[in-house]
Symmetry: C2
Subunit: 712 residues, 2 copies
């Protein structure tokens, strides 16, 4: 494969990021003659890697640095360097950036720490640098970052010790990490795993270029096979979502570790980098929306990137299993179920062929060949042929335990599997095996994914299936949230909130606000059914606690009296707007639908099962932004308890269209009015067989105290 590091058409102008990731020349400000020092490391790496462009050390005290010509000032450097690597202390940075701007440099990389990550005065210093760069059209990496690398061109613009052992040969794996140390760790793990890293970038404090910016650029490069990302928190939610959309459009898998899920972790993340983290559950929602794969552990991140790098994705989730001992087949069945792969049975014709081939082995999926193949390796070949040809599985895992490591059998097993998978190389074949690294490499070169553990193999294939599903899904269209309401939204009572939301299309029960026992009685006659009666007051968010609610009311006048008396006794300070009468609700499944405002991603819509048990199980689904009806339906079906809505055990199914429309409507309202609305809560929402109804509504504006519903 030819690893391009220039666009095909030289007439196409290069963007600043093109110039940063594929520089034609590099200046190193503060370059040291000592290759072991941070200020000397990048120059050393560039020289060792044989960087294909110009290298211009700038050092105000020396004529040569590490054996090549040095310049006293950036201004003296011939031509226009695309990138300036700045290995200078903080106090010299502002001047250095001004020189970069004057020289027409596209991007400056700032290694120095001591900025926003240390507190307010550091943040002030950082803002100053950003201002200089922005005004001058200069892109910034860092500060507090370890730089970037493009291995195909030998551009190693980093001092990370991960590249001490050598420059990776060009490859399809791209790493974008907020933490430089973590990024270096990943580079090491990739090398151990035989994964070739083509691009590597650490973004540090993300004063300008962030991980999202890098994902967006990397996703557009033909040679990239997979993007591994590490995030502590996004600085710009919209940019991250747009970058993930770009990656999906270009069919580039993004495997991402977002740390800070735990409370202690979130605090630690905030002190490590200077980014504002959104609620962790919202990240899950964003990653799921665009098919980015969130890896829970570093091992998982590397495993799944490894599987993606091959570029072979399964068409579906049907998994064939071939083993040389039954116990591993059982273990693999369990793992397949854990990750949602389908160990479907073989058709009878294929089973008959297996019986004929190997009477002592099993004749179904999982297929245990037993040890009979020791006498005849073609038995392995034919078993794979039957699994793919007869079983038509989307992927196959072969479990060969420690046998590939055997000098006697190792190569023969490999060749036998290779022959059996001929014609099926468009489907992933994974092998579980233990062997020395050179044996593993030989198996990989024969076209197989190799894992040391059943669980990890099944997990990776399931991840490939999920990513393929996401590539195949048509992205939801952008949805116009509509125009903001002209209504006042501040300090709304429940009745007012219902009115505002009814206006935009949220269905409520009919209701009547009454102010005295006589009008209560009149309204009750009109409804002519049992009623619910609730106090209405801008000062009472929790009406039940003060005796403000009565149900199954038949004497509305009496209920009016008793409610108002109780509330007056409990909260004499509360302003009372009246009592709201509504028909008793029909039966249906109780849900909660709401919106909240995430610090990074803005309005987020939530649906969850109502009731106290569901809350303990945290069965909620979130989605950022204006939600289409179709996406809202996906949210509902994504609930673990979705079966309650789709006809569980003969119970009637809810009207999912009506429910999805309600969710979509609420989300559009929240987005259209995002400048004012902090949160909306409809609790409960009743999903009935013939309709969906909201029974209660609460709108909180940014100027009020936000409600807190748990998003993760």
């Amino acid at each position: 494969m030819s690893l391009l590091h220039e666009p095909a058409d030289p007439a196409v102008p290069r963007s600043p990021l093109d110039r940063a990731f594929r520089p034609r020349s590099v200046a190193i400000l503060g370059a040291s003659d000592d290759p072991t020092r941070i200020s000397g490391r990048a120059l050393h790496y560039l020289l060792r890697a044989g960087f294909s462009g110009g290298i211009f050390p700038v050092n105000n005290k020396r004529d040569t640095v590490q054996g090549i010509t040095a310049y006293r000032n950036l201004a003296d450097v011939p031509g226009t360097p695309d990138v300036a690597l700045i290995a200078l202390p903080s106090r010299l940075l502002a001047a250095a950036l001004r020189e970069c701007v004057a020289k027409g440099v596209a991007a400056a990389v700032i290694y120095a720490a001591g900025f926003a990550e240390t507190g307010e005065s550091g943040a002030g210093l950082q803002d100053e640098l950003v201002e200089i760069a922005r005004a001058g059209g200069l892109r910034l990496f860092g500060p507090n970052c370890l730089g970037l690398m493009n291995s195909a061109s030998g551009f190693v613009g980093t001092f990370s010790s991960a590249f001490d052992a050598g420059t990776p040969k060009g490859g399809g794996v791209a790493i974008a990490s907020q933490s430089g140390a973590y990024g270096g760790h990943l580079a090491y793990l990739c090398r151990e795993r035989g994964l070739d890293v083509g691009y590597w970038v650490s973004t540090g404090n993300e004063s300008d270029v962030d991980v999202a910016t890098c994902i967006d650029w990397l996703a557009r490069q033909d040679e990239v096979t997979v993007i591994m990302a590490y995030l502590e928190g996004a600085t710009d939610g919209d940019r991250l979502r747009a970058a993930l959309a770009t990656a999906r459009a270009h069919r580039k898998p993004v495997v991402i570790t977002k740390v800070g899920k735990s409370a202690a972790g979130a605090v630690a993340a905030a002190s490590h980098t200077a980014s504002l983290a959104g609620a962790d559950g919202v990240y899950d929602a964003v990653f799921a929306e665009f098919g980015a794969y969130r890896a829970r552990t570093t091992q998982e991140l590397v495993d799944i990137a490894y599987a993606c790098d091959r570029g072979v994705f399964p068409r579906g989730r049907r998994l064939g299993i071939v083993t040389v001992s039954g116990g591993f087949g059982v273990e693999l069945c369990d793992a397949a179920e854990r990750y949602g792969l389908d160990v479907a049975g073989l058709p009878e014709a294929a089973r008959a062929r297996l019986r004929e081939l190997n009477p002592m082995g099993s004749d179904d999926n999982p297929c245990d060949t037993t040890a009979n193949w020791l006498n005849d390796p073609s038995l392995i070949t034919k078993t794979f042929q039957i699994m793919y040809g007869g079983g038509d599985y989307d992927s196959v895992i072969g479990s060969f335990t420690i046998l590939p490591d055997s000098p006697t059998f190792g190569a023969g097993i490999r060749d036998a599997i290779r022959a059996g998978t001929e014609g099926y190389l468009d489907r992933p074949t994974a092998l579980c095996m233990q062997a020395r690294p050179d044996v593993v490499r030989a198996y990989e070169e024969a076209g197989f994914l190799v894992f040391g553990d059943s669980d990890r193999a099944a997990h990776a294939l399931a991840a490939l299936a999920r990513i393929a599903e996401s590539f195949a899904a048509s992205p939801h269209e952008a949805l116009d949230p509509g125009t903001p309401t002209e209504a006042n939204l501040s300090g709304l009572s429940e009745a007012d909130a219902q009115e505002v939301l009814a206006e935009v299309g949220v269905p409520f029960l009919p209701s009547r606000l009454v102010h005295d026992r006589e009008s209560a009685d009149a309204a009750a006659r009109e409804f002519a059914v049992a009623l619910a009666a609730k106090i209405v007051s801008p000062d009472l968010a929790h009406k039940t606690d003060v005796g403000g609610v009565e149900l199954d009311v038949t004497d509305a006048a009496a209920a009016f009296d008793s409610i108002t008396t109780r509330v007056a006794a409990a909260r004499p300070d509360a302003r009372i707007d009246g009592v709201l009468l509504t028909p008793m609700a029909p039966s249906g499944v109780e849900l909660i639908v709401g919106t909240s405002t995430d610090a990074v991603f803005g309005p987020v819509t939530m649906v969850g099962l109502g009731g106290v048990a569901a809350e303990l199980h945290r069965d909620v689904v979130l989605r950022v932004g204006a939600v289409t009806v179709e996406a809202a339906r996906e949210m509902v079906l994504g609930l673990r308890s979705a079966a309650l809505l789709t006809g569980h055990r003969g119970a009637p199914a809810a009207d999912l269209d009506a429910l999805a429309r309600l969710i979509s409507t609420v989300s559009r309202f929240a987005v259209a009015n995002r400048d004012r609305v902090a949160s909306v809560e409809l609790n409960p929402v009743l999903a009935c067989p013939d309709r969906t109804l909201a029974l209660d509504a609460l709108i909180i504006t940014h100027s009020q105290k936000g409600t807190t519903w748990i998003s993760d």
Copy 2:
């Protein structure tokens, strides 16, 4: 450590299993001269390992085998071999076993396959062998097994290719695996991980000796540090429970993989070995009861055995974290939360010491030392001293990424941590690091657990904490289930079932069975509250479906008429015993309590949250056998939704003692009557603040069709 392979006192008589695991002499029946053949492999291994006892090949055609004297018959072998390894085809086995019995051999190992695992005729052959052995007092390993090994004495009585590369040196790790291939795979993984395997046994078809028998024996050996077990299904539930109790009493950690959790896996397991598998959730309950750690994956099995082998367990769950870059601290916080470790903050005095020591680093837990220690490794030493001395953490994880692999820093970091943990070697210190195997070994020799991944380190420390908790817990006393009831239990109506269970102490609402509208009316007057009315019939298990239930009844006579009319219309065939009237239930949390009969473990008691949503979440806790009140309370508190019972959000707490007594009572009833009772179901059970009440009861006998509640 001296690795004993003889009991201290030679006067103590040796049990057959002592003789099997620590033979003084071994006969090999059918020994081949060819060391590559299955029948030649064990002899080859024994000779190569320098087995300390007598080796007696038996071969009816040769005078020598692999260079040593062979005997034509077992009878000709001098003395009494403790073990006979039998490498003969099936048809010669019966005669061979008779010879073993005649010779006084303690245990025979049968390698041959083709018995119970292949179907009925094979099972017949196997039964014949078992009969010969049992009658002659001979213990059997296999058939269809790979034998056993005791590496300290060089007794390698197996043909597993796992020992082709060499005999493990004696060590504390014991492996007991039903599958020989899986056991061999584990031995390979242990060698890779630097774990010394002292005992290894594969039990195959378990016609006599099973994994439980081996666990029991291994747990009694001083030199054993950890038992790794692999199960497809237990043959004898009581024996497995007794073995796990022995292991706990001897403070031997048991780390166990039980495959067959998935439906496909259960089918595959049944066809791989011949054991009858119990429901998977019941295994979880048994392992939890005795503190055996169930590993979900092979990697986890090896990781946790590795951690146990050191023998250093934490006193609690408070975890200190030291990193050289903040990102890893965040990752470790997330992992700690995932596995229930507590990343507690440091006391202020310790924080002040950290600030003084390293102003640029973090002054709390997790502690990011930043890269400052590069200039002064004593900073690492002092940081560990502060974490252990000032933070008093139960364990500490240090994350050093790829730095230990550095020729420049590697040894210095190791020595610095070693100095910092001096005085705290009774607490586990785990390091997350990437390095070459020899570097890892050097770190391990300095006293640290080494993991390549944050998640795996946190997982292993949490497992150590859980195992330590189980060692510390006092085992529940055995509970006398009481005498069987004299009542008839077959075909009981709900009212009859209630009466039987009320007799043994299960609290129900008072009720009256009425047979006509007049007696219904009279009963209602007596109760003088709103009633529930339900049809009583031995033919109607689901009464609601046929209109057989009315609630909030005030006119009992009318309810009697309408219920009997509806039921007669829906099920004219059903025998009707009358209508049961009970007061409407008080408010409380709805639970389901029941018992079921597991194929392997017998009566199992379950408690779960009632209601349809809880069922979807499968929030149930199981326990085998007669459950003490204290254990029943643990069951209830083990529910994910336990908060609903302990005063969630200001709701009143349920009377847990009453609930635990009810569970205990039902379990004792099921055990006492296990010969007749297949299952009991109390659904719902209402847990109220002042009492617990069962509202409904169902007893199913073995002769009836069993109810099916989902146990996993």
